[in-house]
């Protein structure tokens, strides 16, 4: 090992060793960043349904798989604010939104053409976040834009967090408004009556607005590990769904941070908050695994 290399390793080791001294490191759940940081994250999402309803009989059980890579940069501004920009590219395989937007096949004798709906698809999105930091919390304004071949999504969000006096517990409240435009791709369907593929008439330029809310609690366990528990997602609960999740992040040293998140989503008709879910939707499961690594510059 060269001496230069050795001292670099020593520097990192040394910061970690000093942090291991009893309670010399006080934690701040969320304070204004002092340095620029760059993160690379990977997400894997896979969903499946465990049963069938009359409308979904015969469909593949493994429905959508997503692999996403994102790059994010955060830059501090004047000590009290920060600006964050993230770029994401993901690929979706399986029954893509193009398929879902056209509705489930009304009759068993009309089959979906697997080539159009189940093909892989690329999505690009850009997010911009402005955060203002206060002694006991922070407020974040966010906006995002995402585009894929048949789907454009625009979103604005506002999220606030407040910490307890010791800064070890943080309550997060937030909401967002999303306006989507859907221009379904041309889809061919097989018509058993004529024994031929025909162009299915699509609803062109459909729009959708969604309002969501989030309630979350973050608890600092040790000086270097943070665990977040997600509460149920209000948007999903309307459909009778719960999303238990766990996210663990670990500060390796002064510069490097790794995090791992696991979420399990399950939707059942009988869990619907209104007592009446969508009878056409079978019990549905989804798993999300996220892994990320960040470096401060």
């Amino acid at each position: 090992m060269s001496s230069a290399k050795k001292t670099t390793v020593f520097g990192a080791l040394f910061v970690a060793a000093a942090m291991a001294l009893p309670s010399v490191q006080f934690v701040s759940a969320k304070t204004a960043p002092e340095r620029c940081s760059v993160s690379i994250k990977y997400l894997n999402y896979q969903d499946s349904q465990s049963g069938d309803t009359p409308l979904t009989a015969g469909m593949a059980k493994d429905r959508i798989g997503v692999n996403a890579f994102s790059v994010m940069g955060v830059m501090p501004i004047a000590g009290k604010r920060s600006v964050g920009v993230s770029l994401l590219e993901d690929s979706i395989t399986g029954a893509s939104p193009a398929y879902h937007s056209s509705g489930f096949p009304p009759k068993n004798n009309i089959h979906h053409d697997g080539e159009s709906g189940a093909s892989g698809e690329l999505r690009h999105s850009v997010d911009l976040e402005l955060t203002r930091y206060y002694p006991q919390g922070s407020v974040t304004d966010g906006s995002s834009y995402s585009k894929e071949s048949d789907y454009v999504s625009r979103s604005a969000s506002l999220q606030g967090s407040m910490s307890t006096e010791d800064k070890n517990t943080t309550l997060t409240l937030g909401g967002s408004l999303t306006a989507d435009t859907i221009d379904p791709n041309a889809m061919k369907i097989f018509d058993a009556a004529t024994n031929a593929y025909v162009d299915k008439k699509q609803v062109v330029h459909e729009t959708k607005q969604v309002a969501t809310g989030i309630v979350g609690v973050t608890r600092v366990l040790t000086k270097q590990d943070i665990v977040q528990y997600y509460s149920e997602d209000q948007r999903l609960s309307a459909f009778g769904a719960v999303t238990p999740g766990l996210k663990v992040s670990k500060q390796l040293n002064e510069e490097w941070l790794v995090d791992l998140g696991i979420e399990r989503y399950e939707q059942r008709d009988e869990w619907s908050r209104s007592g009446k879910g969508d009878p056409g939707v079978a019990t549905f499961n989804a798993s999300t695994i996220k892994a990320g690594i960040s470096r401060q510059l």
Binding site: T7, F10, F14, M19, L21, P22, S23, V24, Q25, F26
Partner: protein, 296 residues
């Protein structure tokens, strides 16, 4: 809202707690917590107080092992990291060299005396078994003075932050740990003393958070035959370092900053490469007065 400063003396140096509080009463209550913690650490680890854990370990040298609490063992382990990572330059058993170097008499010690003392140095010989520590040879000593002040500054700032203080800093003899920036978000400005002119500064460093520490050849020294002998002594040679007049490091914790400054001083000419590779901000002045620095 006002800025309140409380000065006190501990660990053989001038100390202060500076806080922004709504009134003096609140600031005094905070300052008392900091003073109490610094005093606790000084009593517990002073080599001059016979009841301290350090004195008990030293008194048992060559004999039995001494049971230690978790905090002491954490410091011992930190000592291990410092020793291993500095190739033995940062050695918490090197305090015995005080017996050879008397800064009041201002005379270079007899080389034979130094060789005798060097035989008592070796952190790698300190026996650690669970929560027990034993010095294998009569006359050996451990001493956490190399990072005790820095640890105390970190602890005091951490306690104040835990009790709700958000703006201010703890300064123990130039080892500074910031609790939080000024209420308007602006940094505290720390002036760095010119190592050869006590009433001048050579730089001012803005600190929003984190810590700053300085080691220098001007804190305790004597000059004999035109040669300067400072209190930072190489544990291998037994002689004071000579390359740097002062080294200042900015780091997240004072313990980190202070250990870097000491090791940079001990590494002499190689100290600059060490600082450059540490990725921390530093300001170093060599014997010619040349300044080397890097911002964080």
């Amino acid at each position: 809202m006002g800025i309140f400063r409380f000065g006190f003396r501990a660990m053989a140096c001038g100390c202060e707690v500076l806080l922004v509080c709504t009134d003096k009463k609140e600031a005094k209550a905070f300052a008392a917590l900091a003073v109490e913690e610094v005093s606790r650490i000084e009593r517990k680890y002073s080599r001059y107080l016979p009841e301290s854990i350090v004195s008990r370990i030293n008194a048992a040298a060559g004999h039995e092992s001494v049971g230690c609490d978790d905090e002491t063992m954490a410091l011992v382990k930190y000592g291990n990291t410092l020793f291993e990572s500095s190739n033995g330059l940062f050695d918490c058993t090197a305090g015995v060299l005080r017996r050879g170097w008397d800064f009041n008499s201002a005379v270079e010690p007899d080389p034979a005396k130094l060789s005798e003392l060097l035989r008592l140095i070796g952190w790698n010989r300190v026996e650690q078994d669970g929560n027990h520590v034993r010095l294998p040879q009569v006359g050996m000593e451990i001493d956490f003075g190399g990072f005790g002040k820095e640890y105390a500054a970190d602890r005091a700032a951490s306690i104040l932050h835990g009790k709700g203080a958000r703006h201010g800093y703890v300064n123990l003899g130039g080892d500074i740990r910031v609790i939080g920036p000024k209420p308007d978000g602006s940094p505290w400005t720390i002036g760095i003393q010119d190592p050869r002119h006590k009433d001048r500064t050579i730089a001012s460093i803005p600190l929003y958070n984190g810590a700053l520490a300085t080691s220098g050849d001007y804190e305790r020294y004597f000059v004999a035959d035109g040669k300067r002998y400072c209190h930072i002594i190489n544990p291998r040679t037994g002689y004071p370092v000579t390359h740097w007049r002062s080294v200042t490091v900015v780091a997240p914790l004072v313990a980190t900053a202070g250990s870097h400054t000491t090791i940079a001083m001990l590494k002499e000419g190689d100290g600059l490469a060490f600082l450059q590779n540490s990725r921390l901000g530093y300001l170093a002045v060599d014997q010619l007065g040349q300044i080397f620095h890097k911002n964080t």
